[in-house]
Symmetry: C2
């Protein structure tokens, strides 16, 4: 069977890696073999995949010798070291880290948004940042129709975006808070930095490190990745990225201004017709997207659609999606599916 694919997941024991495995199974992705790779620290761990246990192997260059598609999510350093080795051995790398996203030779793909960018790849395709993916799925049909000129976005991002340790930390902090015990922070907002703050019962206006311009790296990802994916550097992007005490599901308050005028009925129709979007917008029935309800789902949920009160070409919306699923694992698997559908299109 020509569709049979030898798949490797790099970072198989992490939050996204586990979700990648689960997504391959949910999608019945036609893999003939599934290799689970991780750092030497995690090698030897047994991971349950459907009804079998697979042992995690150490990610080394030669581990990619018999791999067609390698899904990377083990941090930027691992991707920089091993992605070229995997490509050298004939694998397509779909990389979930930020390592190659802004590399002009690496397409940055949201399958609903810019599948046409895939053709130029040289073995590595990058998966965008979670916050960017869901925002651009929601904006693409509107950009096509009315041309987006300005984006002001505030995010409400889940702890899982910071990985397994952050999920464990929020869970433990919440337990301690309920029990009246001291709340300890050693992972969030950024594990490698010196200061840590509780997320339980709190909100942290820092995701990733600060850049010299006063924006965080997460915020700059939303700016730069939006420009690359939409192929338009003139779009003004004004992001504020914030962590909230939610485990799964990023929410975003997105305000846009468009070049061309729009009718609200047309906005809604275009969003409803767009693949990957589920419109949940009925104020009278109190229907709007919520992260708790979006957890585990593939879709990007859009609601709270309303025209701006003073700018006729201004539109506000509320965009929610599971950051680990559509924001990472599902988007990566979706890229692999697209690659298969297009006959394993090479670079």
């Amino acid at each position: 069977m020509t569709q049979q694919v030898r798949v490797a997941v790099v970072g198989a024991t992490g939050a996204v890696g586990k979700a990648m495995i689960a997504t391959l199974l949910r999608r019945e992705f036609p893999f003939s073999s599934l290799k689970l790779l991780a750092s030497s620290r995690s090698a030897g761990t047994q991971v349950a995949v459907a009804d079998q246990l697979i042992e995690v192997q150490e990610a080394t260059p030669d581990a990619f010798a018999d791999v067609d598609v390698a899904l990377f999510s083990a941090g930027g350093t691992v991707s920089i070291q091993l992605a070229p080795e995997a490509v050298k051995r004939g694998a397509l790398v779909i990389d979930n880290t930020a390592a190659f996203r802004m590399d002009p030779d690496v397409p940055l793909i949201v399958p609903e948004v810019n599948p046409e960018h895939m053709h130029g790849h040289k073995g590595i395709i990058a998966n965008p940042n979670c916050s960017t993916i869901q925002m651009l799925v929601a904006l693409k049909p509107l950009h096509d129709a009315y041309r987006v000129r300005r984006i002001v976005v505030s995010t409400y991002q889940a702890a899982s975006g910071a990985g397994e340790r952050a999920i464990a930390e929020l869970t433990e902090q919440t337990r301690a808070q309920v029990m009246g015990e001291p709340v300890v922070a050693s992972v969030m907002p950024v594990a490698k930095l010196s200061r840590h703050y509780p997320l339980a019962g709190n909100v942290l206006a820092q995701i990733d490190v600060f850049e010299p311009n006063g924006y965080t790296r997460e915020e700059m990802k939303m700016v730069n990745e939006t420009h690359k994916i939409l192929g338009d550097k003139t779009i003004g992007v004004t992001p504020t990225c914030v962590r909230v005490p939610v485990v799964y599901g990023h929410s975003e308050a997105v305000y846009i201004e468009t070049e061309r005028p729009f009718e609200m009925a047309d906005v809604r129709a275009r969003l409803e017709a767009f693949p990957g979007i589920l419109v949940q917008d009925d104020p009278e029935q109190q229907v709007y997207p919520q992260p708790l309800a979006a957890a585990g789902r593939f879709e990007v949920f859009v609601g709270r659609l309303r025209r701006d009160l003073t700018q006729p070409t201004g539109l506000s919306m509320w965009v929610v999606s599971d950051n680990i699923v559509k924001g990472a694992a599902w988007n990566a698997v979706q890229i692999a599916e697209l690659w298969l559908q297009r006959g394993r299109v090479g670079g």
Copy 2:
């Protein structure tokens, strides 16, 4: 002693009422008597005030006969019924509900922002919405210097803004979540509406009821109260109001565009010099405002100051304050202090 004031707190058993009592004590407000009033349901309850117990009395028109200042926070219906009765009996009413805020005869006061509006009062002074208060304290020095033309604001609002029952609900939901028990919702987002959703581990893009234009009433308060307090209806306000699982402290991602250009050093200096603001803005040291740290404080905390990447007159900031303290109780007591300082200025 002419400074001795007979004070009443209406809604003394609620979240804001209790904070009003605590604030009067913290400020050593010169009250000669303190009358605690509430609905007949709460009458008879004993409330500890410093080292004495005060019995809550039923709020009736005649309860205001010997009152100089009545702080109301028992819901709009109670204010509509009893505020005029209190005024008739010679009391100054400082009303924390939305009942009179947009009444042209009622000044809507943030003492740091528009104290001059107090002079026109006819016995009732309104306390603005919590989200509006903290935003306008942060924007006033910038509006004075550069004239604010556009505001795009996304809020991260605490459960306490929805009252005692919402605090209890979030606490109970969090406990149930930790214990692995079913999470029940019957208060939030809006107690009187038919649908309720969990706030624990979730984010709710609805505060108060929806208006026919698709904005919530909370969002429209931010628009209309901003126009009234700054005395400028031409400012474009684009709000998204969101409840997050935090008990005390609202956070706001505020983006503004100004008419006149600004230097960042001047922005910072003006904010630092403005009464009621504490600037917490040192990205290198990971210093920025957080609701958990702002709880119980009088100040409005401002940080994450950064010029927009594409709009030279665009500025982003992060504004945090305790919604029950500066957003309600302290702002009300501050109005009473101002009234005293100005010689009990009448209408």
